[in-house]
Each structure stands twice: as C-alpha cells, then as structure tokens.
Symmetry: C2
Subunit: 127 residues, 2 copies
C-alpha cells in the first residue's frame, strides 16, 4: 500500500467516511470501481466555483471560512454555495465545524495529497 486510509468525520452529517481513494494512474490498469472512486474525487474539483472556494478557504486568515463569507465574493446565491460546500465535504476535501450560527470550513490537505499521489509518475523498479 502506498498511502494510508484517510478517515474524515463530517460534523454536519455525523457520518464517518472511510474513504480510500485514488489508486495511482501509473500503477497498472485501473479497475472499474477504483476508476469510479478516483473520478469522483476529480469531479469534486472539476468546477470553477469549487476550486475558488477551496482557494478562498485556504487563503482565509485562520485557514477557515464560513459559507456566508463566500457568497458575495463568488456572486452566487446561498443555496448554491451550500450545494458546492456539500460536494467538497462529501469528497473529503473540506470539513465543516459549527460554531454557533456559523459553520467554519477548512481544507483537508491530506486529501489533496492523496489525489496528487494518484497522478505521480511510475515508481521505477530497481534492477
């Protein structure tokens, strides 16, 4: 095994997601199921709004931002922002923590590392 399993607890759903993702592209022919898992991860990042959300959360003062801070800069309605945050959450790319009325989101860099591993060049076998 190349990387460990990342366990993420989604506070809004209280679901422990044990996600194994992103078998390396250069580690042999991908099985259908593995390909679907990895494709789902890329799909979460395959939207300009979601990429901007990730960059905005990462660039926020404490590395956290609530949804209400994103609506204006993105120019999108609240349900739309909530929709995108949900997809990022379910992909394990961000986690949300409720503080009073607000839910503070932060990026999960380990998840991005997993995706990077999937794109890593092949490991050369020593002779």
């Amino acid at each position: 095994m190349i990387f460990d399993t990342l366990i993420i607890v989604d506070i809004s759903t209280n679901v422990n997601m044990r996600m194994e993702c992103c078998e390396p592209l250069f580690g042999g022919i991908l099985e259908e199921e593995e390909a679907a898992r990895t494709a789902a991860m890329f799909a979460a990042l395959a939207d300009p709004v979601r990429l901007r959300i990730v960059s905005m959360v990462a660039a926020a003062p404490d590395g956290t931002a609530c949804g209400c801070e994103l609506e204006d800069p993105l120019g999108l309605a609240q349900p739309t922002v909530s929709h995108h945050l949900r997809i990022l959450r379910e992909a394990g790319l961000v986690v949300g923590e409720r503080r009073g009325r607000w839910v503070h989101y932060r990026v999960v860099p380990e998840r991005l590392d997993e995706i990077r591993n999937a794109l890593s060049p092949p490991v050369l076998d020593p002779v």
Copy 2:
C-alpha cells in the same frame, strides 16, 4: 512563475495548443478565468472511462496504444472511445500520432505534473 508553459501539438487537428494551466490552489484566491482553466483539466480526469484509458495507455507495452485496442477492454463502442480520446487530447493529457491506419496515443506526463503542482501545499515563506 512556478512552472513553464507546456506546448502540445495535436496531430489530428494540427492545432498548437499553448495551454497554461493549473495555478496552485494555495497560492491565493483563484481568479474566475484561472479557476475555469484548472476546472477543465480536472473535468478531463473526472470520468472513470478516461481514467482507465490513461492507465491502459500508460501500461501498454511501448507506452502507446491505439483506439482499437481500447474498445473491447472498456466494453464501449468505437465512437464513445473516440469521444473520450478527443477530450483527453484537447486537455493535453494524451497526444495521438497516426501510423498508417492507426493512431497511437501516449500519455503526456508533463501535463499530469502541472496538475499535481496545482494541488501542492503552500510554499512556506522563510522568516
């Protein structure tokens, strides 16, 4: 600038694609246009069939495979495979070279490196 510009010549369209892609997610808030470019790259990888195609081409004996070799293992019709190859081509993830009747595709690892760079953790400023 972190990475150079990758120039890819698509033999089937004879179009020189000068693509700059994938500004780092942790390099500040992404502009709308940059986010759209990066999202398009991820969208090309956000499909199980295309991920399997990339892994199959990479795992092929010479690192190249023609479309006809992919239809059976994928269980898809020829137009469908051609469609996915087109998307991968336009994203610069593979290039095709015609040899006689066949078009041999190969993966462009530099493109995958660019995507990996976009997901790289932030560079820590020295104090």
